[in-house]
Assembly symmetry: C2
Homo-oligomer: 369 residues x 2
């Protein structure tokens, strides 16, 4: 039977398929087709007004049938001539090299480099992610100036809402990285689906630990502020997974101070000694390596899962003390944030193709790269 199958394909033989890519329409061609000039086409495309209804209709008709796409290459070139220059403020938590926010930052910078054609001035205003006051100060300094656009890390909800209200009034566009905040109107928000992150964490912890093991969910607590929105969603999703699929699993919750590694270590050690039957430990933020190190310290072996390929996490994966990481692609989030903002600044409208959320990957030692 298999022979017959193969034979049939052989008889059918090879077949080929010629294709010339549909040449992109140029504004010149559109102008010719619509019987107007390039200037008019440009005005229609950019909603610059000062176009007669007839001309408008003619151009729109051509656009309908041929589906025009901007040529970003030449746009960028032409924009240079206008010497239009933008200032973009970025306010995100400060971070050590190789930590989560530093990776986002490298994505931001990569985009600024890639779009170096366009004249953009970027200005970073960092704040302390464990201190709401420093965030407020940072945001106030941003509200006081008139930037072309703003990129915000959404660590503190109330402060973000306040700033965004002011930006809305001034019609300054903004985008979020690593979060979204209800009651605001960003051009776009770049973040991984936190629900998925939490359930994935649960699924992997469940699958990779032995049947009878207890599992630990370690929760960071912040001084003087409620737990970050992302962590809360992940925790909730983590627990939902077990409530729905594995009611029999015992989940122990422990709190630790993410702001101080030394403290974390002692808190976690104590927690694990109190819960000896724990065979898997889940971190809901990107500092899982602290947990791995604490486990090493007390000589305990457990499956550990965390978030993001930070330097500390990568080290622990290589050392074999951290089993897997859920990668939210912070670098891409940063890159997309800048890209979408520039698109908005240049064309006056958000780029639809950039609205999709960033993908979520799973990283083990083997594919750490």
């Amino acid at each position: 039977m298999c022979e017959v199958h193969t034979y049939l394909l052989a008889v059918r033989g090879i077949f080929s398929n010629f294709a010339t890519m549909p040449q992109q329409l140029t504004i010149k061609q559109i102008a010719t087709l619509a019987g107007v000039s390039v200037g008019t086409v440009d005005r229609v495309l950019h909603n610059r007004g000062r176009v007669s209804p007839e001309a408008m209709a003619a151009v729109k008709a051509v656009l309908e049938t041929h589906s025009y796409r901007y040529n970003l290459h030449t746009s960028a070139v032409a924009f240079k001539k206008t010497k239009k220059s933008f200032s973009i403020a970025i306010s995100i938590p400060s971070s050590e090299k190789g930590e989560y926010w530093d990776i986002i930052r490298s994505g931001l910078d990569k985009a600024f480099r890639e779009y170096g054609d366009i004249s953009v001035r970027s200005e970073y205003v960092f704040f302390d992610q464990f201190n709401a006051l420093s965030c407020r100060e940072a945001f106030e300094s941003i509200a006081a100036k008139d930037y072309s656009a703003v990129i915000l890390g959404t660590t503190f909800v109330d402060e973000t809402v306040t700033l965004c209200g002011k930006l809305d009034e001034k019609h300054i566009p903004y985008v979020f990285v690593d979060g979204k905040v209800p009651g605001t109107n960003p051009i776009a928000s770049y973040l991984a689906d936190q629900e998925v992150c939490g359930r994935l964490l649960a699924r992997l912890m469940d699958g990779l630990t032995a049947e009878g093991d207890e599992l630990a969910l370690l929760i960071p607590h912040r001084v003087g502020a409620r737990i970050s929105n992302n962590s809360a969603i992940r925790m909730q999703a983590f627990k939902s997974y077990f409530a729905e699929h594995r009611k029999d699993r015992v989940i122990r919750e422990g709190f630790y101070s993410a702001s101080s590694p030394e403290l974390t270590r002692s808190e976690i050690s104590a927690f694990l000694e109190e819960n000896p039957r724990v065979g898997g430990v889940a971190a809901v933020i990107s500092t899982g390596y602290i947990i791995s190190d604490a486990l090493s310290d007390i000589g305990k072996k457990a499956v550990v899962g965390g978030f993001d390929v930070t330097e500390g996490n990568a080290r622990c994966v290589r050392e074999g003390t951290l089993d897997f990481l859920i990668d939210q692609h912070p670098e891409q989030q940063g890159f997309n944030a800048v890209e979408s903002l520039l698109h908005y600044l240049l064309y006056g409208a958000p780029d639809e193709s950039l609205r999709e959320h960033t993908p979520i990957d799973i990283v083990f030692l083997e594919n750490l790269g």
Copy 2:
């Protein structure tokens, strides 16, 4: 202690950081700095010759200190004027919609669309991946013509080597997707690290199955041709993992005919009934869904792992009969292949930044997307 830590950061307060992206040098600026004209700079940059030693030295000196980078945007624009047009032949296995090679194809097409600025004609010549003769015919038809460049799926080694020899003689550049072949000189090869794929498969099967379970490694066999190189490497790596880390695990090997779903199903059913203690089944090619379906048929539950997010695989993941997929990003492979080829055709040299291998991700139900 934690209080003190936070306090210190608060006192330090926010801090900001201004940055203007280093403006890229233009060839005009280089020309001015070197005291020559843009034409001369261009000749130096493109090694076109006809430049006096003094001019060469002057330009090189400026390039050393300022590190010039091509502006791909404007290059593409300028190239259009020359009306230079390319014809690229692509010979890969034919494939149903949503299957592995069709995904590669969509990546190829995406690149052709994205680089629609450049005048490129693409021509597909498909062959039957289970029939070496059809591959030979396809490759001969390519050798008979004079394309600007060629993209090849490396399913059949001998045929590939023969064709590449002829292309080398004619100085026609080519790149590989989904493989590499010793004894050939491609501009680039795009494929996931097969060693990593195999070890990752092993690691996940090991982790996700119960301690005492036997594991099955299912191997496709091809009529009239030896097993594909990629599958062989994955199998080898899979077995190495267990030989190195888990000598106690029992691995059963089973063969099945990947060319006919019906046959596959019956073969796999028979295999599993002969090996009742198998708790995990690993597929080394992208048709894992056939295994899942066979398991469903006989009402057996086992952890199943496979490769790539094809339509069939995605369906089984959603149905819960396929547990995870190792994603080789075939779409990106296709995209990169075209991109690197165009870079070569335009600039006469491979783009170093495009030589990196494609990343490998792991997909569960949750992050199927």
